[in-house]
Symmetry: C2
Subunit: 232 residues, 2 copies
Amino acid sequence: MEIKSAVVALSGGLDSATVLGEAISRLGIKNVLSVGFYYGSKHNAFENVAAENVADYYGVPFNLIDLSETFKGFSSNLLLSGGEIPEGHYEDKNMSLTVVPGRNIIFASILAGYAWSMGKNSIWLGIHAGDHFIYEDCRPAFYKQMNEAIKAGTGNRVSLYAPFIDDTKVGILRRGLELGVPYELTRTCYKNSPIACGKCGSCQERRAAWESLAKEDPTVYEYTGPLFEKSV
Amino acid sequence: MEIKSAVVALSGGLDSATVLGEAISRLGIKNVLSVGFYYGSKHNAFENVAAENVADYYGVPFNLIDLSETFKGFSSNLLLSGGEIPEGHYEDKNMSLTVVPGRNIIFASILAGYAWSMGKNSIWLGIHAGDHFIYEDCRPAFYKQMNEAIKAGTGNRVSLYAPFIDDTKVGILRRGLELGVPYELTRTCYKNSPIACGKCGSCQERRAAWESLAKEDPTVYEYTGPLFEKSV
């Protein structure tokens, strides 16, 4: 099934902004739509604004879908209803506190129905190798099966594509810098604060990627001290 | 993966009420939860009430999730935003006007995340052989792939089960009558009216099932004339 058009899941973070840049560069701006979700996470208010700014920068439509009612009974420290956001290395075990049960299954499903409704034949997600350790619904096995489920459930009208599924955050950033993705507009931190903390797993992974390429991250962080070591 | 507990998708129709009866009879009432969706369909207000009544009858918790924001941009005559509900045989081609793009993909995904959050290890859907002709996301190929996607995405915490996937509506009704399902509380009609029309594909299929078993449907229909023939 040749991909001709796309609905991109745009969280407002580094990965999804790069996916949007990639989709536009491959398919042309007229064939791309973007969708964000408000689902009651601590950083939603900030990341939704970032996503809208990134979409505006590119000039693609952005549809924000309110799922706060859906996720009301769900348990996760990522949500406003949950406990503290853990700090530390992004592959530490306590990062599993930030798992939102079934989040990407749900996002992918809604995107598939929306793409079908809007006459777009693929949905793009920013899942990547760095997500695999903690998040089951970011792993290649899930991606492959979910693609088959979506194809079957939409009568082959829509497929799922994750351009960076085998890439690291560093690889995504390298590609995004080539594409000129406006990273100054993105938001990565998981915490409920306008300034990125620099200490949560999400900030740590982002900072590590920029350090690894010896480039300067335009994000302002509250904590700019050394990156955390991975706990045993 | 042995099924020990269930979240049942409860639309308030004949199929899902039977699925709930089946789940309770196999797993015990303490291990069963039910979930309904408000997604902006013409019959939602009526079917959601029916679902709640069925859940109350059995004494199982019922969680109604509001997805009207999610389905706002979707195209379907089933929705309040769409055109007329078609009348005729339930396998007529014009019944595809009632397809809601990706509906069961989305429902299954949300149920999976909810089941994980609530510590239940399966989700049950009422899809059956009579749905296969019109609805791609009711076919065995979809069901099989979606189950794999959910298992992968939840780390094998949750699986998808459709007890009547290979059954007809007649088979479901026969089983439900054995189980004593309170069909007088259910609602099947697709139209935006408190009295079932008797003419939409959904009413026609239900009426045909009762006729086929020579039993009296407790539903009051506006039109009680002969069932429609299938168009060529």
